[in-house]
Symmetry: C2
Subunit: 113 residues, 2 copies
Amino acid sequence: MKKNLGVNILLDVYGTLLTDRQRVTLELYYGEDLSLGEISEETGITRQGVMNCIHKSEKKLFELETKLGLIRKFRELSEDIDRLEGLIIQAEMTNREVLAQIDDLMVAIKGKI
Amino acid sequence: MKKNLGVNILLDVYGTLLTDRQRVTLELYYGEDLSLGEISEETGITRQGVMNCIHKSEKKLFELETKLGLIRKFRELSEDIDRLEGLIIQAEMTNREVLAQIDDLMVAIKGKI
């Protein structure tokens, strides 16, 4: 069984919609990086039971993302914010350049007085 | 039974997480503003069944908002964006005022040449 690391962020966003048992199992598996055997020991559920619970919970998380698309929306929003920050820096630089030119001109003008 | 108009926005945000029957019933009740009797006629479900379905679906929507808080987050984000727009307008006005003062100075300086 290969760990799908994208599940961590899904768990972060949709974890409140899982049952306690589903959330705890996924947190132990992905958050604490325990093995199926270790989770089985810790929770008293059989190894097969832990595996089934993880599969079912992952399926639920992926379905939630398909239906609500929050991670996709957050990513798009985050890209927009990055672009906005870029534009603000650009505006600041343009302003600074213009102000620097004005400064130079002031010095030149003062030199002529 | 009093119609809770906040349900419309909950339905908009979380509607994909309801069953088809729950979503359709709420859409007829809130979106199309049909009465319980009219929905009963349209869907072939008893009036009592329609009412139960609406109560159960509303409960599910409110629980989703309690667990995910998307509407609260969207509102907070929307307020931040409004503030950002206000700041941009303020920056533009400040810039314009400074530029207007520079213009005035230029005219005065030109008048002295």
